[in-house]
């Protein structure tokens, strides 16, 4: 891109809709008419909870991040409430915040901590995810279900996949059946099939959005914009139809912006990627770097479904295709539906977390897809799952010609060890060493 070039930029139309949907989600988790659980989409890749008449799920990560983002004194108080009861200082900040709030009995605005009735820790290679369910159940006796994130090295192996897939389906099947039995609510299989179709549509939109962000110069959307909405329908669970409509709206707007060269950052000169959640408590650095014309395109984490693009040896861009069940696969029983919903692979084909574990050099493919010039890789003292193999990824990126820096902090949901002044100084040096200057200078 030509140095000093300027593009038109304008506010995002989907912004207000996103705010409205998030407000609706907040109301839903405070509802007394629903069975509220703590957990995630466990190993089903769609919003399974909506197939029950009145079940909703809260996920610790966005709740803990928001606590730290909105109210630093409260988040510190919550973590202290955890620590005095024996929880380590080095545990994930999301959990330290949420569990502390549970002990305190209220959240940062003074309202009561939303009561949970069950807990399902998300299966994940991250140890902290695997351990997170127990606190809720220790605090107040409630059902807990577990599953595994299944990992092996080497090529896809059908023989190894078979028992692993059965394990995955069994765990998911048991959760649904037990929930029916315990909460007396009927799981609606037809509704479930519809949810799966909707989820597939959303995945297509999110892939398209990733592609447009990555391949358009100037990028129509920065990750800062994406982070403002990207939990909608995923970690922030809302009505499934509203989810599909919202993401269609986002896709349409991003596409229009790309076609009309409407930039997220009007002076885009430098594109960089990250490798994991940012400091949710200090998002200012994105805007700070924009003064240098630097735009953050996100990470394998923020792009989820879109992180499986690759740059092929002939220079073409393509998706790594996951093994899937045929579209017309018959789904007559609950087991069929859960089997299809669990996916055709026991070991994920790649993407966030799996790549760091077994395909550490794929971050280079991601950077090439994003047409990135540099990488800003956070390393978190209290976030093993957010930091694993990061140093090695930095080496691969440097070898591929990217300009890489690290910064250090406690964890994306824990502000304790982040030195903001030092971070900004580092960023100035990073930018200036590449000949970039702030637009204000």
């Amino acid at each position: 891109m030509a140095k000093g070039q300027k593009w038109e930029t304008r506010p995002l139309d989907f912004w207000n809709k996103a705010k409205e949907l998030r407000a609706g989600w907040q109301k839903s988790i405070e509802s007394k008419e629903k069975v509220v659980g703590q957990g995630n989409t466990f190993d089903l890749s769609f919003d399974w909870q909506a197939a029950f008449p009145a079940v909703t799920v809260i996920e610790d990560n966005p709740v803990g991040s928001m606590m730290q983002n909105k109210n630093e004194p409260y988040a510190r108080k919550a973590r202290l409430a955890s620590e005095v009861r024996g929880w380590g200082r080095e545990i994930c900040g999301y959990q330290g915040n949420c569990w502390g709030a549970q002990f305190l009995g209220y959240i940062d605005d003074g309202t009561a901590w939303p009561d949970r009735k069950f807990v399902i820790p998300m299966p994940c290679v991250c140890d902290q995810h695997a351990k997170r369910g127990q606190q809720a159940r220790d605090f107040e006796n409630m059902p807990q279900w577990m599953a595994d994130r299944l990992i092996y090295f080497g090529e896809y192996d059908e023989e190894r996949e078979k028992p692993m897939l059965e394990h995955k389906v069994y765990c998911n099947y048991r959760i649904i059946n037990d929930m029916e039995r315990i909460f007396g609510q009927q799981f609606d299989e037809e509704e479930c099939a519809k949810l799966m179709a909707g989820s597939k549509e959303v995945r297509e939109y999110s892939r398209e959005i990733s592609y447009l962000m990555a391949r358009t110069i100037p990028s129509p959307l920065s990750v800062k914009d994406l982070y403002s909405v990207y939990t909608i329908g995923g970690l922030t669970k809302i009505d499934p139809d509203a989810t599909v409509q919202f993401w269609r709206m986002v896709r349409d707007e991003v596409k229009w912006r790309a076609e009309n060269q409407i930039a997220a950052v009007g002076n885009e000169q430098f594109r960089f990627i990250e490798a994991h959640p940012p400091s949710w408590h200090y998002m200012k650095y994105y805007r700070y770097l924009e003064q240098y014309g630097a735009i953050c395109l996100g990470s394998e984490y923020s792009h989820g479904a879109g992180s499986n693009y690759e740059v092929r040896p002939d220079g073409s861009i393509g998706l790594r295709v996951d093994k899937t069940y045929p579209d017309d696969m018959e789904m007559t029983t609950r087991e069929d539906i859960i089997r299809v919903g669990s996916g055709a692979l026991a070991r994920p084909a790649g993407g966030f977390k799996t790549n760091e574990y077994i395909y550490r050099d794929r971050i280079v493919q991601f950077a090439q897809f994003m047409q990135a010039d540099g990488a800003l890789l956070a390393i978190w003292r209290h976030g093993v799952g957010c930091t694993l193999t990061r140093k090695e990824q930095a080496m691969y990126l440097r070898d591929a010609g990217l300009n890489v820096i690290h910064y250090e902090g406690s964890q994306p949901g824990d502000r304790t060890d982040l030195d903001e002044k030092r971070l900004l100084d580092q960023l100035d040096t990073w930018m200036e060493s590449q000949g970039l200057r702030k637009v204000t200078e």
């Binding site: 929880w87 380590g88 959990q95 369910g133 127990q134 577990m146 692993m164 069994y170």
Partner: protein
């Protein structure tokens, strides 16, 4: 027998074993590694232990606040484990995984394997997954060594390992005496040595050692302590406790009692039998993520070994023990077992630790009836 020397001379031992047998040495990281299969293939499985040496190489490769794993990387990059032919990691602590993969990446000649052992150990399907993964590992080991692992090989290996665990437990039982014949430091050295030596040879040593042990005279009354928390790599802490009039009479460490607590129950399907032993062993924090079994196990050990108090010693920045501590504190408080918690690193800050231990042990002393000769009522 000087077990401490066996641990300290572990590199020389493994090198000598290789020279004598021409066999392969396999390093392992996680205590959930089923050594039985490697041993059946004629391999010497050795536990990779952390030792701190000046480190100017690991930082480039790994960001881990957990120093033992960096110390392991340091040792590999500096060539201290140059006799190791292969490395295996079992699904468990993520920092340990990072340490393993850096060592492997830096030495492409190393045979390597990642064994998936479900974190959710309780599902009926967990055992079939593990059995399948053990079968894969067995096949890869056969390919690597060029030796077919027969049922007879597995039976022999299971027998040797079961015997080793039984002998260790037999010694451990002697710590239940009012005045144990063996103290915590020596016991831990024996357990560590068992993770480094040829098991058959170790069994012979232990069989000779047990009568010697039984012939010892009981020493003086000591404050009976339990050690809970992160794995240990040496016996500095146990020695310090002993120097101050205490004794670690039992531990709940992953590479302490948990290493030998349960045996393999033989069955026709040998791999299933091995898998069930590892799924059913005393849980470490990462494998105890469904129902909390670990706190109850800790309590039972404390009761059985009649402890006066517990030391919870956590590796600094160990996220897994950091997530379990709450439940451990809770059960000890509920059962009125005094405890002292502190964090340590690969190295032990001597004066700081000594002061903490002294305060804790002084606090315990006034209430201890056995220190006033109470045991004598039983004619000991």
């Amino acid at each position: 027998m000087d077990f401490k020397a066996l641990v300290e001379n572990r590199h020389e031992y493994a090198k000598a074993w290789k020279a004598k047998t021409g066999g392969k040495v396999l390093g392992w990281y996680e205590p959930y590694f089923p050594e039985e299969i490697a041993y059946a293939a004629g391999i010497l499985p050795v536990r990779i232990l952390a030792r701190h040496y000046p480190d100017d190489v690991s930082d480039k490769w790994i960001y881990a606040c957990c120093y033992p794993v960096r110390d392991m990387v340091n040792q590999f990059l500096k060539g201290r484990y140059d006799y190791v032919d292969g490395l295996v990691n079992v699904e468990g602590c993520q920092w340990m995984y990072n340490s393993w993969e850096v060592a492997v990446n830096n030495n492409p000649k190393l045979w390597n394997h990642y064994l998936f052992l479900p974190d959710h150990t309780d599902a009926p399907t967990s055992k079939t997954v593990l059995r399948s993964e053990l079968n894969v590992m067995k096949g890869l080991m056969e390919e690597w060594t060029g030796k077919k692992i027969t049922d007879e090989d597995l039976d022999r290996s299971i027998e040797i390992h079961n015997k080793n665990r039984l002998l260790l437990k037999q010694i451990s039982e002697m710590r239940r005496m009012d005045r144990p014949l063996i103290h915590g430091a020596e016991m831990m050295q024996i357990v560590l040595a068992s993770q480094l030596m040829d098991k058959a040879e170790m069994n012979e040593i232990l069989e000779k050692f047990i009568p010697e042990l039984e012939a010892r005279k009981p020493g003086e009354d000591r404050i009976r302590l339990m050690l809970i928390g992160s794995e240990t790599w040496d016996t500095e802490l146990e020695e310090m406790v002993e120097a101050m009039g205490g004794d670690i009479v039992v531990d709940e460490l992953d590479n302490g009692t948990s290493y030998y607590w349960n045996n393999i129950i033989p069955q026709k399907d040998r791999l299933m039998a091995i898998g069930l032993r590892y799924l059913g062993r005393p849980k470490n924090p990462i494998k105890d993520n469904n129902w909390r079994r670990r706190p109850q196990h800790i309590f039972e050990l404390a009761e059985d070994y009649n402890v006066d108090g517990a030391l919870i010693v956590k590796q600094i920045y160990c996220h897994l023990h950091g997530t379990d501590n709450y439940a451990v504190w809770k059960i000890l408080r509920e059962r009125y077992i005094p405890y002292h918690f502190f964090e340590r690193d690969t190295t032990l800050p001597i004066e700081d630790t000594r002061l903490r231990l002294e305060s804790f042990m002084n606090m315990l002393k006034p209430g201890l009836t056995h220190l006033a000769g109470w045991h004598k009522a039983y004619g000991e």
